[in-house]
């Protein structure tokens, strides 16, 4: 019951998706959409687990007044101001729900969105420090990495492009064609082919119950 049945369920639900792939939707209907909807619905219910987890982890420091409890309180408050109005019906107040003009929308536009953009923007700093540290000509491989990165970085700004054009008028074009469209495409393709095989093998292991760390057998 505890181990065998889940493995059987995994196998059958996997097999169902394989069957859906092969069977003609004209005959069997949209089984794929149906099964995917089930997954979505299960995921929807599971959100409660997430909310309970985040509340429990942050509630304890607040009650016990641990160092930094203020932050945990701010987190709980943030969950509340975003979540509670969003599930109340719009008919009660235009501040409820998730449409334009709701509290949900306001907090998203004024707080979440700029914070997302800021985290994203911090990548500029990290790209610089990672390049400084990692791009050293320690070996043939590292040298190739550093040379191509530098050339491509130069090519992407007007000054560098001008420089390349001065060397040879077709140079920027050659970089785009042979490096981006040649080597880059080839390697991506090689990695994708390998990864597709690996993903399929992992799928097979899960369906066959060889890989079942998640149901009580390692």
């Amino acid at each position: 019951m505890k181990t065998k049945l889940p493995i059987a369920i995994a196998f059958l639900s996997g097999l169902a998706m394989v069957a859906v792939f092969i069977l003609n939707p004209e005959k069997v209907g949209d089984m794929e959409g149906e099964l995917l909807q089930w997954t979505t619905v299960i995921g929807g219910f599971t959100l409660l687990l997430g909310v309970v987890s985040i509340v429990r982890v942050n509630w304890r420091p607040v009650v016990r007044r641990e160092t930094g409890w203020f932050n945990n309180a701010a987190l709980l408050l943030s969950v509340a101001v975003m979540a509670i109005p969003s599930v109340l019906p719009v008919s009660w107040s235009p501040l409820f729900g998730t449409d334009g003009g709701s509290m949900y929308d306001w907090f998203f536009i004024n707080l979440s969105a700029p914070m997302m953009a800021t985290m994203f923007a911090m990548l500029a700093f990290y790209v610089a420090s990672a390049a400084f540290r990692a791009f050293r000509a320690r070996s043939a491989e590292a040298t190739l990495l550093l040379l191509t990165a530098t050339v491509v970085m130069l090519w992407r700004v007007p000054v560098g492009e001008g420089l390349f054009v001065a060397i040879h008028s077709k140079l920027p074009n050659l970089i785009n064609t042979y490096v981006m469209g040649g080597v880059n495409v080839a390697v991506q393709r090689g990695i994708i082919i390998g990864a597709a095989l690996g993903a399929a093998a992992t799928s097979l292991r899960i369906m066959l119950g060889i890989e079942r760390t998640y149901m009580g057998k390692t």
């Binding site: 334009g100 929308d105 998203f108 536009i109 969105a113 700029p114 997302m116 953009a117 994203f120 500029a124 700093f125 790209v127 610089a128 420090s129 390049a131 400084f132 540290r133 791009f135 050293r136 000509a137 320690r138 550093l146 990165a149 530098t150 970085m153 130069l154 992407r156 700004v157 007007p158 000054v159 560098g160 492009e161 001008g162 785009n176 981006m180 469209g181």
Partner: protein, 277 residues
Amino acid sequence: MGFWQRVSQLDRRWIYLAVALAVIFPLLVPMKMKLGITPEARQLYEAIETLPDSSVVMLTFDYYPSTVAETRPMSIAALHQMFRKNLKVITMTTIPLGGPSMADRTMKLMGDLYHKTYGVDYVNLGYKANYTAVLLGMGSSIESIYPSDQYGTPLANLPLMQTVKNYDQISFIFIVADNGIVDNWISIVNAQFSTPMGAGVTAVMAPKFYSYVQAKQMTGLLGGMKGAAEYEMLVNKPAMALIGMDSQSLAHLLIIGFVIAGNVAYFATRKKKESKG
């Protein structure tokens, strides 16, 4: 500790500071570096420039708030051109959160600037879920997908929408996007309804889409902030992207400088170690 050793182990915060300065400085003191215009950008500009007066064009806001630095200047530059040429603009978004308010703010700003009337000169359709159905459905009837606009006004009450039923009445689609939706515009709308289109995309996405331009599925392409800056130059309205390009160049050169310094330091310190045996 020698100089090169110190450079080699430079605290990353100095690098952060240098990057910050490289970005901020040109904003305060513009350097106005020269910028070439790529054929792809010019193609896009010409495609819209040669449209007859009062043609209807569509402009999409398919981007999230986190990439506005690259994408919003494209929307603004495009609107300068469209409104100045007296084209009618229909806009929409496939992004649920952030997309509608981005479209709303930008359209109001530009509409007011050119004294355009909502409903007559431009319409904002807003967002509808399930983009495949949206892109496909507008081919037969826009009204079936968007019974009302972003503000809840039925399309029947908007004068502009009386003449526009589906893609047949739209002369050009200008996509501004930061995600793979461009593929769908091409594979669904261009392939099935052969509406001409061009796109402005983020720098990371750009190389992938050059092939569409080569295959003539797309008329023109803008890539990243550089593409946006080129378009600002084409419409002769220098703004955010063009200002940003100085910072862009300086930051790139700075990073390259750091990589070179790091390598010089690496070899200098390595030689010292070797000679010490």
